[in-house]
Amino acid sequence: MNTLIDPPKNPITYARVTEDVIRMLDKPSAKWWALFIPTLMFVGLGASCFIYQVTTGLGVAGYRHPVFWGVYITDFVFWVGIAHSGTLISAILFLFRARFRMSIYRIAEGMTVFAVLTAGLFPIIHLGRPWNFLWLIPYPNSRELWVNFKSPLVWDVFAVTTYLTVSSVFFLIGMIPDIAAVRDKVKETPRKIIYTILSFGWKGSNWEWLHYTRAYLFFAALATPLVLSVHSVVSWDFAMGNVPGWHTTIFPPYFVAGAIFSGLAMVITLTIPIRKIFSLEDYITLDNYDGMSKLIILTSCIVGYAYGTEFIMAWYSGSPYEWGQFVYRATGDYALFYWTMVICNCIVPIALWFKKVRRNIKALFIISILINVGMWFERFNIIVISLSHEFDPGAWGVYKISFVEAGITIGSFAWFFMFFLIFVKTLPSISIAEIKETLPVPKKGGH
């Protein structure tokens, strides 16, 4: 288990690790700008679409009776799902001492924070009167108006804000020793000051390390239940409703597994280009991908099992509404989306059972993108298909996405990548400290 890192041709030393990671923080290249500027433009597109929507009315989105939630909530659940694997990789796998997490957990954590920042926009974007979104937060006010604690949407506000807080803290704390390392290398003033502040005066003393590792363990333990709770709460947005296709007890585990599934896929999608661009093959190794792929296989199976269970429960319940809903999913107006989901989430990951595929970067990249697509459609299917086909056949209807929703969705991806691009250029994307832990200790006085 201790030989997860292949013996490198150019052996990794303490010095090389620091150098390699800090190299990533060099002045942005033209390539970086070529990525960053279009990203900003797409963020602008999303923002203009949102402004247009606020000034004109929510009617510019594709909503129609009886589908009152659509792409925005799909995006919300999708991004919350993406946010999951960050904490999973950094906290749970840390507790389980799964060492393949080590080289990727920083990227995963960054992804988590940015994904929550993206996800958090959507509940506001989707409001009919977004300027009143503060009313969803219980704050003391002279009118003595309070939120309705029975509403899952209020739980959602708590769950997401808590998750954002904890994952940000975890992200920043985990980075302290690394930032200190960067601080020591950096010369220019503004950067130096920023890194100095963020490193909280880290000196790397034994005493500090002792307390730091303890604290990190506790944070990991604290963050672990959140991985389960956040997406469980998100799933209650649906499971607490009585819409056929929503109202089911399987949702919390099903959503958590799906979230981890999509989150891992997203980590793979993101790390593959970074690994290539920054030549990090020695750090993010095929063994790492192999480990993640195995987790993907597991979660894919859970998700597939959930799809089957939903069908069986719908049939076994004898409820015409439930059964009608699931037959409609597979054969109705949205059948194409349903089968896209099944193929991407259950069929495609079968390839990962083969070791050759698990260790083939190109294949992994394609598979991970397909899983992302599949998981987006899973959320879309749960939300939109269920609402389209409820109890009263007199009120059935089919939803169509509008260009404003597409624009905002594209904008949200750009918004996420914008943060990510800034992140790889400003903060150490690979944990210097943890990599060093796995290296043979350099001989004293070696230099």
């Binding site: 009886p66 939630w69 009919g128 009313w135 969803l136 108006l145 309705n148 109890f391 009263d392």
Partner: protein, 981 residues
């Protein structure tokens, strides 16, 4: 004081300045977000107006010939709602959707706002003052009179019985003996003619559906447009009353299952144009079996050859069914009616003679058919006469044509070429309030005021004279038609002495003096007049009429119908209960009211049987060309099981080329492909005279509807119970299981508002939908938004096509609105308490608090919530109709039925003043108030004696989706199915 001021360190003046500046800044800042609306008080308040307290005026609905008495609610000088006048024997306190929407005629933004005259120099219409306009008319008239061409003046109007008719007569007499034509597109000439042939009375009697137990309708769409639909529906409701396990029965014979057929117990899909044979066949059975109540005399000979077998071959109706209907018809208190514009073929008069024979032999004449109280529509000109007028016009024999409230260019077949005829008329004057197809050709437009702005009266039938009174001030620079005629004479020397009266009101009152002397001889006129204005209706007793068979009956020969034999499919066009002959098409509420069977809005369609559709490769939404020898029209297909495979049907009323923004360029006018053929005997237009071909165009688009599912997929939304089961006790409590609850049961102290809807009575007419739009300021959204299912109606009438045991079509309607659940799924999911359960059982909706998460709408199992996707703008002056008691919702908030909470509050306020509880029946919700069939009952469930409490325990009562346990406040009463016919 001054000491203190000094001490405080700030002077009073400075303080006021600061306050002023601060306040001003705040005002400016706040005005950035939303425009501030000022409440402007009356500087000099008018007498008798208390702001906030409505006033009610009795009047008469002039949307069709039925003449329903109405009460118009006026708030602060504006008419805001029409309701039926309970004193009126016609409306019985109800109206139809057209009546509800009549205010949109009054406030229509496309109304002609002042007189216009054609300017020869600039070749266009230009505004002109009333004086000049009236003088122009008077001068032309007097010139014609002096040239001896006074008889070439024609006054063409709709059916205007009552005083206005005599004014026109007087005016025409004074101007040289011109002619007055009363033209109604649907004037039922064959009924009149058949009555002349059978009974020697060329009149239309009143049919008393309410007195019958068994109604046999040969195509008469009595729930939609036939004669007096609101009155008929009241009769229907009485007949459909379920008492002691018994109820009346209705058999409807028509090639197409119309809305009326859908409410019948049996729909007989007869071969088009052969209704007469079926009537004769039934009569044959009755006479042969000796079931008749009156000695048939000569009639026997007339029907003897029509044995069930012969009839069955001619009509494609099974012989057993003929015998069964005959037996039921003869043994019950029955009534046979006939007509229906849709089925008016070349042999329409013969059909009505056959229907008369049926009524006669079963002794219905004088009982359910009342000739003593005939309808005023009997007096209208026949199609033949109108056709002759058009020919006269074409020949240049009409020097001056005054068009009033009719639109012949739209309502006459294009084969008649009215356009060319109009071009040959010397001078056309239009009194129309709208620029429609016909008045576009006028050289002088003198816009008349709406019936809500003018005095008048109307006599829908002999026994009833109904008042028309202004319910508000003129909106535009218009005059009532009576005043136009009277003051036109005043502006010319030679005509000056025509009338002694100066206004139409004086003329009207002098006519009413005679009415008063006859009806209430002992009463002073001003007392009588006031009483009439309050009541709205004066009834005049009519002597009973003895009706006997006329010898003319011997001459009748029952001819087969004549069709232009070019096409494969019989072509039916039927009058729409929303637009009638197209006059309703400019009212957005009616355009947006989903048609009962298709749920289509804002457009036309053609109904095609599924077999025919699959043969031609058509689907709902396919565009198809309907070709007759005269031309073609192109519209979208609606695949409909309720039509014979050899027949296609297009509704009438759309296809305007003018008539305002809401009507123009929408749908098709079927009259463009109908020949100008008529029924030989009555000279009535033969609407059913053509066979057409369908040509697939290959184009396809969404046929915009409000409901796309056809069936309820066994989900027991609209339930039915067989009469047999109902009369036994075994069905009861089948579905009333007790469900365990997590939360304690809700307790209500004084009120639990609840509703009952009787599906056996609901006809799907949509009057409640339109009334709800009017009462609750519901915006109309237009076709493109309805295509996105964003119609805002708080009530929708769901329509499901089910199958009877014998495979025949069973159409069910169920009005779906907020159920005000005791255990409402929408309430717990709202994060901000914008929707909540109020102590009286109402599911409240706080618009101000709503942030628009729309979770409530997702979680509503009845899907009755509507979201404001946009800020809906209602063009002025349509917005004058808005009810000041109801908030106009802004974009981004949810809304839904409130059970007319403003009416509840108003009633509670009144009750509180008198220190009592609200009494049963003290107020009604808008939908309950309007429902012509009394299907809706609203009230307080706590009050054990209330109707709603009693009905909630009715054997037929059920809650929709009961198993979800939302505990809805609405109990539906199951539709009653008769045993197989």
């Amino acid at each position: 004081m001054s000491q203190k001021e000094k001490k405080s360190g700030i002077k009073r003046r400075d303080f006021l300045k600061i306050i002023g500046v601060a306040g001003g800044t705040a005002a400016v800042a706040s005005s950035c977000s939303d425009p501030v609306e000022q409440i402007i008080p009356y500087v000099i308040p008018p007498e008798n107006v208390i702001p906030g307290i409505p006033k009610f005026y009795s009047s008469t609905c002039r949307e069709c010939s039925a003449g329903c008495g109405i009460i118009v609610k006026n708030r602060e000088g504006r008419a805001i709602k029409v309701e039926g006048n309970p004193n009126s024997p016609i409306s019985k306190g109800k109206t139809c959707a057209m009546g509800q929407a009549s205010l949109q005629g009054l406030y229509n933004p496309d109304r002609v706002r002042s007189p216009f005259r054609y300017n020869n120099e600039v070749k266009r219409m230009e505004p002109v003052g009333w004086e000049a306009g009236l003088k122009e008319l008077a001068d032309r008239v007097s010139k014609l009179k002096s040239e001896g061409k006074g008889d070439k003046i024609v006054y063409l109007s709709n059916n205007i019985s009552g005083t206005y008719g005599s004014l026109v007569k007087d005016w025409l007499k004074a101007t040289g003996g011109g002619k007055h034509y009363m033209y109604e597109t649907f004037s039922h000439e064959p009924i009149k003619k058949a009555n002349e042939i059978t009974f020697g009375k060329a009149e239309i009697p009143s049919y008393k559906i309410e007195e019958a137990d068994y109604l046999l309708s040969f195509g008469a769409d009595y729930l939609e447009t036939w004669l007096s639909p609101v009155n008929n529906t009241a009769g229907f409701s009485k007949l459909k009353e379920v008492k002691d396990g018994k109820t009346g029965k209705i058999v409807h014979v028509e090639p197409r299952s119309s809305m009326t057929a859908a409410s019948a117990d049996k729909w007989v899909d007869i071969k088009p144009g052969t209704e007469q044979y079926l009537a004769l066949g039934i009569a044959n059975v009755i006479i042969n079996k000796g079931w008749g109540k009156v000695s048939p005399g000569n009639v026997s000979a007339k029907v003897s050859s029509f044995t069930p077998k012969v009839v069955s071959e001619l009509t494609e109706v099974k012989p057993e069914l003929i015998e069964k209907i005959a037996k039921e018809f003869a043994t019950n208190k029955s009534l046979a009616i006939g007509g229906g514009v849709a089925n008016t073929a070349s042999n329409a008069t013969e059909t009505h003679v056959a229907v008369n024979i049926l009524n006669y032999i079963c002794g219905n004449i004088g009982k359910t058919v009342d000739f003593s109280d005939t309808l005023s529509i009997s007096n209208t000109s026949s199609y033949g006469e109108i056709k002759n007028l058009v020919d006269d016009m074409r020949a240049g024999n009409v020097e001056l044509l005054i068009v009033h409230n009719v639109n012949p260019l739209f309502t006459l077949p294009s084969e008649l070429n009215v356009r060319e005829a109009l071009a040959n008329v010397g001078y056309i004057v239009s009194l129309s309030s709208f620029t429609d197809e016909t008045s576009e050709h006028a050289k002088l437009v003198l816009p008349e005021s709406s019936s809500f702005e003018s005095w008048g009266d109307y006599q829908p039938r002999k026994s009833i004279i109904s008042i028309v009174q202004p319910v508000m001030n003129q909106i535009f620079n218009t005059k009532s038609a009576g005043d136009i005629l009277i003051s036109s004479t005043k502006s010319n020397e030679s005509l000056k002495d025509t009338f002694t009266e100066n206004t139409y009101l004086e003329y009207l009152q002098s006519a009413w003096k005679k009415v008063g002397e006859y009806v209430e001889p002992r009463m002073r006129f001003d007392e009588f007049w006031e009483k009439a204005l309050i009541n709205g209706v004066v009834t005049v007793d009519q002597p009973e009429q003895i009706v006997t068979l006329s010898p003319k009956l011997d001459s009748i020969v029952f001819k087969p119908p004549v069709f232009s034999e070019d096409g494969d499919y019989y072509f039916i066009t039927y009058p729409s209960y929303r637009f009638l002959d197209g006059r309703g098409a400019n009212k957005p509420w009616l355009q947006e009211l989903p048609e009962a069977l298709t749920t289509s809005v804002w457009d036309s369609w053609v109904e095609v049987h599924p077999d025919t559709a699959s043969k031609l490769g058509l689907k709902t939404g396919s565009f198809v060309k309907i070709e007759s020898p005269l031309g073609s029209i192109e519209t979208q297909v609606f695949v409909y099981e309720g039509i014979r495979p050899d027949t296609v049907a297009v509704p009438f009323g759309q296809g305007h080329k003018s008539y305002g923004r809401y009507a123009k360029d929408r749908g098709v006018n079927p009259l463009n492909i109908l020949p100008s053929s008529f029924d030989d005997l009555s000279k009535g237009f033969a609407w059913l005279s053509t066979k057409v071909n369908l040509v697939k165009t290959g184009n396809e688009d969404l046929l915009v509807r409000t409901q796309y599912s056809l069936s309820q997929e066994d989900r027991r939304i609209a339930q039915a119970i067989s009469l047999e089961k109902l009369s036994h006790n075994d069905d009861h409590h089948e579905s009333h299981e007790e469900h365990p609850d997590f939360y304690p049961e809700k307790k209500y102290a004084k009120y639990r508002w609840a509703m009952n809807i009787d599906l056996n009575k609901c006809t799907g007419c949509g009057a409640c939908v339109t009334a709800c739009y009017a009462e609750n300021n519901i915006p109309f959204v237009g076709k493109s938004e309805v295509a996105k299912r964003r119609e805002m109606g708080w009530i929708r009438i769901e329509r499901f096509f089910e199958k009877n045991e014998d495979g025949s079509l069973d159409t069910r309607f169920i009005p779906m609105l907020c159920q005000h659940c005791g255990n409402a799924p929408c309430e717990p999911v709202c994060p901000v308490y914008a929707t909540y359960h109020n102590p009286e059982g109402l599911n409240g909706m706080v618009y101000n608090r709503c942030v628009g998460t729309r979770y409530c709408a997702n979680n509503c199992i009845y899907k009755v919530r509507r979201f404001n996707w946009f800020e809906y703008k209602i063009p002025a002056p349509l917005n004058w109709q808005l009810n000041p008691d109801v908030t106009v919702r802004s974009k981004g908030v949810m809304e839904k039925c409130t059970f007319c909470v403003q009416r509840i509050t108003y009633a509670k306020d009144l009750a509180k003043d008198e220190n009592r509880l609200v009494k049963e029946g003290e107020f009604k919700t808008a939908c309950e108030q309007v429902c012509p069939s009394d299907a809706i009952v609203f009230g307080n469930l706590i009050d054990e004696d209330s109707k709603v409490a009693k009905l909630s325990h009715d054997k037929r009562g059920y809650a929709v989706l009961e198993e979800i346990n939302a505990k809805p406040g609405i109990t539906y009463l199951k539709k009653v199915k008769q045993e197989k016919v």
